[in-house]
């Protein structure tokens, strides 16, 4: 019930937008070649499901592989930077600069250097998703109240104990916020990498559809990509719920 009330505005707004789109296509009599109506897109998606399916599967595989590798690297890097202020001062500006490299430049280079296989795509996903996760972890580490640190210091806890007992649990919320941002990038980055050159995946599917002037198929692929992103986010949400420490009920239930 609560869930329904929460997503009801989204559903209503989306339905209104789709309805407007559909009405416009009907009344203005636009060429379906230029702007297919939502019903055309759904029709195309259904008709082409056997073709799109394997492409979508390939995309989600690359995205999750790249994303999980990236999260692992980001975690290790965050611990290293947390314990070495020198490294943090040295590396952070370089990492920030690395984020300014345009994907359009990077993707073809990756293909050029590493071929059409899995590696260049996974690398691209890592490059795109690594930074938000790292930043969210580091900012989470900085949020530990001084009183927690004082308490543990007075108990003669070592720096690893403090990290494990206070710093890491404290960074949880911030970590998941960063994960969610990165997860949305992961699918987009994968599709871009495939667009630059691949044998399979939504990116190459979009490229082929575009080249044969099938706007309905391009949009169908967009719908699938949105679906994949939502799927990834739902998965993260589930992990967040399952691993939650502390009271999970409503806030301030008893006071």
């Amino acid at each position: 019930m609560h869930f329904m009330r929460q997503i009801l505005p989204t559903i209503l707004l989306a339905a209104a937008l789709l309805l407007a789109w559909q009405t416009y296509c009907l009344l203005a009599a636009v060429l379906p070649l230029l702007l297919p109506a939502p019903t055309d897109v759904v029709g195309a998606l259904f008709a082409e499901r056997a073709q799109i399916g394997p492409h979508a599967l390939s995309t989600i595989k690359v995205a999750t592989l790249g994303f999980s590798t990236s999260v692992m690297f980001a975690f290790v890097a965050s611990v290293a930077l947390h314990f070495s202020p020198w490294l943090q001062r040295g590396l952070m500006p370089l990492l920030v600069v690395s984020q300014t490299i345009p994907l359009v430049a990077l993707a073809p280079l990756m293909i050029l250097w590493f071929g059409f296989g899995l590696l260049p795509k996974v690398l691209l996903v890592i490059l795109v998703t690594f930074f938000p996760v790292l930043i969210s972890l580091l900012s989470g580490y900085g949020q530990v109240p001084q009183a927690y640190l004082d308490l543990l210091h007075s108990m003669r806890a070592g720096k690893w104990q403090i990290f494990r007992r206070a710093t890491l649990p404290m960074a949880r919320a911030s970590f998941f916020a960063g994960l969610k941002i990165s997860a949305t990038y992961a699918i987009v980055a994968t599709i871009f990498a495939e667009y630059a050159g691949a044998r399979q995946g939504l990116g190459i599917y979009i490229l082929t559809a575009k080249n044969s002037f099938r706007a309905d198929l391009v949009l169908a692929a967009v719908v699938v990509s949105a679906g994949l992103t939502l799927l990834l986010l739902a998965g993260l949400r589930l992990i967040e719920r399952l691993t939650a420490h502390g009271y999970r009920g409503g806030r301030n239930a008893v006071r």
Binding site: L151, L152, R156
Partner: protein
């Protein structure tokens, strides 16, 4: 007996505390009062071994004549806020000190759970801090401090976050608890009423860095500490605090 002698603290040439000395005896509650900014908290933090590295400290602490370094296993510290970790249960929070001292999680839990009744927390073992009231949270923080079994306890304004009624109850409750398991307590407060109700000895710090403005023993037994019996001491304390 814990003795602090001629403690001087300064940050980059700015003196916070100068020539501070005090003695904590087992079974005695010593209250440290003084105007804000006089360095009460700095003294306690130095004893807890958590003063920032920028502060230059000179002076010595000894337990029974033996010089010690801080933090020390015989000195437990309780910060101003209850500092209960929201991701740990009340039992988990209470057991934290024992675990840090090297006990296994299971053993530490067993050790603290035995005290939940006397701390008025029975039934709260598996609850999380946000599920219990402010007074109970404070008792859980006291349990975490007392469970460490240190001979000396440093309390930095432990009641400041509580409402007036809860505060009065908790002051009484803490005195009873401490009578049952005597410790040497150093309690920082800015509340004259609290100091006169709880203390065996009141140390008054002066506003500027310098030696103590006063060291006043309170000999009236706690059951006889009526408003009338304490009126004189409170007047003296007020004058001391307002004068310097």
């Amino acid at each position: 007996m814990l003795c602090v002698e001629r403690l001087t603290l300064d940050v980059g040439g700015r003196v916070l505390v100068a020539g501070f000395s005090c003695t904590l005896k087992t079974g005695e509650i010593t209250c440290l009062i003084g105007p804000s900014g006089c360095g009460k908290t700095s003294v306690v933090k130095w004893l807890a071994g958590i003063l920032s590295a920028e502060v230059d400290a000179q002076g010595s602490a000894t337990i029974d004549g033996v010089p010690i370094g801080c933090p020390h296993p015989d000195i437990a510290y309780q910060p101003q806020s209850d500092a209960l970790f929201p991701w740990l249960t009340i039992a988990g929070n209470a057991a934290l000190g024992l675990e840090m001292a090297g006990m296994t999680t299971a053993a530490a839990h067993r050790a603290v759970v035995a005290h939940f009744d006397t701390f008025g927390l029975s039934g709260c073992e598996g609850l999380y801090p946000e599920q219990i009231s402010g007074g109970m949270r404070q008792r859980a923080a006291f349990l975490r401090t007392m469970a460490q079994d240190s001979r000396f306890v440093l309390l930095d304004e432990p009641f400041s976050a509580l409402d007036a009624v809860t505060r009065l109850r908790m002051q009484d409750w803490l005195c009873t608890r401490l009578a049952a398991t005597p410790r040497g307590v150093l309690l920082v407060t800015h509340d004259l009423h609290e100091a006169t109700q709880m203390a065996d000895r009141i140390l008054v710090m002066s506003a500027g860095p310098g030696p103590l403005a006063a060291n006043i023993p309170i000999t009236t037994p706690r059951p006889h500490r009526t408003e009338a019996a304490l009126a004189d001491i409170r007047t003296t304390l007020k004058t001391l605090l307002l004068e310097n």
